[in-house]
């Protein structure tokens, strides 16, 4: 399974993949370049999910320490470098959220959930993959689409999302699971017939 890349982003993606491979060989200057190129995005991800600057800084530090230590597990034939990096950042943030705030959503997170920012960007500025996902999200009811976005951007559990929106847990699970089933069908179709 080869990671798909859009032509306009493939140069950058290949450069990142090469840098990750150099980092795996212990090349510190490649690591510095990689940090320069990617840390703004990953810090944005951490800020979005954690909502606290200090905690986002700690999370970002952990993310890059694990990039340095585990860059040799990155496989360019299976994933795009940016996907790999964002996944590391999201996992680090979700683990932190589970450790510190398993029960109630804190006010900051709750506020962000009411209006699940960020807004979808102007679609002309986005990748083909992002546009394809937007088309498939478009087939969902607004409520379900909002639940998927809120889940992705907050890292909140089913329980927390249900509490926050004020619906039973089963309802929240059903919204999101139905959404995922429909998204899968739509995305599978468009991957085979782009």
């Amino acid at each position: 399974m080869i990671a798909r890349m859009t032509p306009e982003s493939s140069d950058r993606a290949l450069a990142l993949a090469r840098e990750l491979q150099a980092v795996a060989d212990g090349d510190r200057s490649a690591f510095a370049t990689l940090y320069k190129r990617t840390s703004n995005k990953l810090f944005g991800v951490c800020m979005q999910m954690l909502g606290d600057r200090g905690e986002a800084e700690d999370a970002l530090q952990e993310v890059y320490v694990s990039v340095w230590r585990s860059a040799d597990t990155f496989d360019a034939t299976r994933a795009a470098a940016m996907t790999w990096l964002i996944t590391l950042a999201r996992n680090q943030c979700i683990d932190r959220l589970r450790r510190h705030r398993e029960v109630p959503l804190e006010d900051a997170t709750a506020t962000r959930l009411v209006d699940p920012d960020p807004e979808p960007p102007a679609l002309t500025e986005t990748s083909e993959e992002r546009r394809r996902l937007e088309r498939c999200l478009g087939v969902l009811a607004d409520q379900q689409k909002d639940a998927v976005r809120a889940a992705f951007f907050s890292g909140a559990t089913y329980n927390q999302l249900a509490d926050h929106v004020g619906v039973p847990l089963a309802t929240m699970k059903s919204w999101i699971r139905r959404s995922l089933i429909r998204l899968r069908a739509c995305l599978e179709r468009s991957e085979t017939n782009p």
Partner: protein
Amino acid sequence: MNTPLDHEPEDLRYAEYVLGVLDADARAAVEREMAADPHAADEVMRWQRYLLPLAEDITDSAPPDRVWSRIQGRIGQTQSLPRTTDIRERRGWWSNLFVWRSFAFGATAVAAACIIALVLFPRARVAQPAAPAIAYMASAITQTDGQVGWTATMDITHARMIVVPAKPQTLPTGRAPELWLIPAGQKPIAVGMIDSGAPTNIKLDKALLTRIGPDAALAVSVEPPSGSPTGQPTGPVIGKGSITGT
């Protein structure tokens, strides 16, 4: 009828994992499954490909410089796992802790003896075919009380350094020693956090390699455990050592 939810919820756990809605236990279960079953790992990667483009919506945000300084401090002490290519080499004398433990006793005298042995010995055997010039340097980091706190040996050829504690002074809780390279007349460069109870292996990058030499010195300062937040020493300097060798 409705969407066939009840028939295949188990297929969705990979999607739920990537979306981030599972609790800690359910996440751990998926991670165990990924480690054991390539199909599970493939499914997770597929959902990453599907859902992660949403992250493009997130506005970039520049982290403060201190984060990079801390990362550098942290990776200085990386005891890198042996990579497949150099496992054999790492099991050689460099990794032999007995060598370094005995090195730590009577550090100064032994350091001097080792330099002589390491520097002169290869030269004496010039008949050896194409032996690369070995460049080792060493430093005994002496504390304000006159005791050697750590000895550092730098293997320039292989771009690595090992820092062995001799008699490091005890630091207050929540403080840790950080090693710095001070090129003559320049600002200190962070080398990495070092251990007070065990040898620390450090990879040397180009910036460090080109500045290590008899004109430079090593120093240890007292810092937060994650390293100096500024990229420069913030706590008291508790030890210094000149660098010797060729």
